[in-house]
């Protein structure tokens, strides 16, 4: 190699190296999603990933963030496997290089939260409701109401309808435990009596025994905490066993209506509320685009994860505008606290409270002819 060639190579190498140091832009902004793509409850993975992917597609169609595209990288937690979730989280961070992750399910969020905390990766949960995810990591944020908020909403609704004795049924999981504890606290806090709290394993062959014990406790109302499809199965069993009490759920999907059939009539659902309205053009745009792409109207899970991607995109934009090595979990979190308010697909804005939770509107719905009819907003505080 001649001296001239060597010099040229050194100059080129130096230019490339310094260029790389100055340009902190990645080729693509990868956002991780840890969803229930398989296992007992793949419905959630389907709608959450669909919502998130739609947001990514929309942002990319508008040129991405200053020309850099977003990419959603999905890992499957198999409907709540902490082991699968931890492996997925490590892969997202170590292999894919994500700086922000959208976890789902309480168990999964709790299992992956320490990794996000340790590796300084921002996490925005739009599905799990466990209060244990609140205030334990500076990198952990929630954009849905927590179990305590929804439990309080249900307790108030049942009490205002005249119930004095409440019974509960839940899956044996972090989510189930958290919900039972929060409801008991809210209910007994009003001086009312909790008469039963039955739980079953997620893969239980049937729940006849649990329902029989609920019935024997002679409650005025039942708080039905299982998720899809066991929520529908529990209602079906209760009605088949002659239980005519008011039933309140934290969520209810089309799958539950299918399982419960005619027995779904009259069930009330107290949950985060997403509805497309004329007053909120973004919600209409989102709902129309979702229906056009996936053939069904979005539920609040789809809306939460759609919104989660928009929040992350906005944070990247804000961090980038400040310059420097902006693409890191720390900088995204810093950008959030500099201004914790974001446009919301639910209408107006969402604001993260000091505990990292951006509470959503909590509403009461009543199932009539297979449809969830809005009844009223209730307190989730």
């Amino acid at each position: 190699m001649s001296k001239r060639t060597l010099f040229a190579a050194l100059v080129l190498s130096s230019a490339l190296t310094s260029g790389a140091a100055l340009a902190a832009d990645p080729a693509v902004y990868k956002i991780g999603g840890i969803f229930a793509m398989t296992g007992a409850s793949p419905h959630y993975g389907k709608v959450m990933s669909a919502g998130a992917q739609l947001a990514v597609d929309e942002i990319n169609a508008q040129g991405g963030i200053d020309g850099i595209k977003l990419q959603l990288v999905i890992e499957d937690h198999k409907s709540g496997s902490a082991q699968a979730a931890v492996a997925g989280m490590n892969r997202l961070i170590d292999v894919e290089g994500v700086k922000a992750v959208l976890p789902s399910f309480s168990t999964v969020t709790l299992a992956t939260m320490p990794i996000g905390d340790q590796k300084k990766v921002m996490m925005i949960n739009g599905g799990g409701v466990s209060a244990q995810t609140v205030g334990t990591s500076p990198y952990m944020f929630n954009i849905r109401s927590m179990a305590s908020d929804l439990a309080a909403g249900i307790a108030h609704r049942a009490a205002e309808q005249g119930a004095k004795k409440l019974a509960q049924i839940a899956i044996k999981s972090e989510f189930g435990d958290a919900t039972i504890a929060a409801t008991t606290k809210a209910w007994e806090g009003m001086g009312l009596k909790m008469v039963a709290a039955e739980q079953f394993q997620a893969d239980a062959a049937n729940i006849d025994t649990q329902v029989a014990k609920l019935r024997a406790s002679q409650p005025d109302a039942i708080a039905n905490w299982p998720t899809t499809p066991q929520a529908g199965l529990a209602v079906k069993r209760m009605r088949e066993l002659g239980m005519k009490q008011a039933v309140y759920c934290m969520e209810w999907t089309a799958e539950d209506t299918k399982v419960a059939g005619k027995h779904a009539e009259g069930v009330e659902v107290v949950t985060d509320y997403f509805a497309a309205t004329d007053e909120n053009p973004w919600s209409k745009r989102f709902a129309d685009a979702y229906k056009a792409k996936f053939g069904e109207m979005p539920d609040f899970y789809a809306a939460n994860y759609y919104e989660g991607v928009y929040v992350i995109a906005e944070l990247i934009r804000r961090a980038k505008a400040k310059g420097g090595d902006y693409y890191s979990g720390e900088r995204l979190v810093q950008a959030l606290w500099e201004n914790p308010t974001f446009d919301s697909v639910y209408g107006k804005t969402l604001t993260f409270r000091k505990n990292g939770v951006a509470q959503k509107p909590v509403a009461v719905f009543r199932l009539e002819n297979g449809e969830q009819k809005f009844v009223k907003f209730t307190t989730g505080e």
Partner: protein, 287 residues
């Protein structure tokens, strides 16, 4: 008292369901020695086939059940001929067959999700009634589970005792090598028990379709309870498997009378451990 009656009834109905599953599994395991974990997804596929024939094709439910049973029997035979039989021919040790069975379990379970989707499947065309015993309730479908367990159980017992093939199956279950020596075609019998056992699982699947609906993961619970029932009942004893199935169901149900229901699945393992320690050969000891 009302609760106790209800829990007893629940135990009876769940016991009938478990017994159907255990009989099918026991026939296959007891005769061939194959720990057929894919029995779970075979049962699930059979139930899905019945759903597809009734809900998609629009056949009357009884016709869908008959065709579904035939399909499930053929699927069971396919599992034997294309998965287990090659290992038998090559003289592979039992643990290799066990691993193959687990692999087949996973493949079939995932295929159910891919082919049928992951949502719950139900049949709306069949209505059923609710009946009362004092303050306790049960449905026509649950009665059907008891009737099916009785009919299938008696049918299999009669077949094993009175027919030439049945006697040959018993001989093979007792001593496969000796059965071969005296001229029994063990391959043909293996095909027969895989067909019979799988067909029995389809009967259970049809009733669960009406009672709870179907999901791709339903096979795990089924093969789990069938396996435990066969071990607790005594490997090779159909009667033992049925007794154990009812025992498990009653323990699961009545055991929850005073214990929190979250322990329901755990208690099955407690029974299993207890039996393995106290009576390793199971409830019914073979001579």
């Amino acid at each position: 008292m009302d609760l106790l009656i209800q829990l007893t009834l629940n135990g009876l109905f769940n016991g009938a369901h478990f017994a159907l599953l255990a009989m099918g599994f026991a026939l296959i395991f007891g005769t061939t020695g194959v720990v057929h974990f894919a029995y779970g997804p075979v049962y699930a596929v059979g139930a899905y086939a019945i759903w597809a024939l009734a809900a998609l094709v629009g056949l009357p439910f009884w016709a869908a059940v008959l065709l579904g049973i035939a399909f499930t029997a053929a699927l069971g035979v396919g599992c034997y001929l294309f998965i287990y039989r090659p290992f038998e021919i090559s003289g592979s040790p039992p643990f290799v067959v066990l691993v193959a069975s687990l692999g087949l379990f996973i493949v079939m379970k995932n295929l159910i999700g891919i082919v049928f989707g992951t949502g719950v499947k139900t049949v709306d065309s069949v209505a059923y009634d609710v009946h009362f015993v004092g303050n306790a309730f049960f449905t026509t479908v649950q009665l059907g589970q008891v009737a099916a367990a009785l009919l299938v159980g008696c049918g299999i017992a009669l077949f094993l005792r009175a027919s030439r093939y049945g006697k040959a199956i018993r001989a093979m279950a007792d001593n496969r090598e000796m059965a071969t020596v005296i001229g029994i075609d063990t391959t043909r019998l293996s095909i027969l028990v895989f067909a019979l056992g799988s067909a029995v699982s389809a009967v259970a699947g049809a009733l669960v379709l009406l009672r709870d609906g179907l999901n791709p993961n339903m096979g795990f619970g089924a093969v789990f309870v069938a396996f435990v029932a066969v071990i607790v009942g005594g490997v090779g004893s159909l009667r033992g498997a049925v007794i154990a199935a009812f025992l498990l169901a009653f323990v699961q149900s009545l055991g929850m009378w005073q214990i929190p229901t979250e322990w329901q699945n755990t208690i099955v393992f407690v029974v299993l451990f207890g039996f393995l320690l106290a009576r390793p050969s199971g409830i019914v000891r073979r001579a």
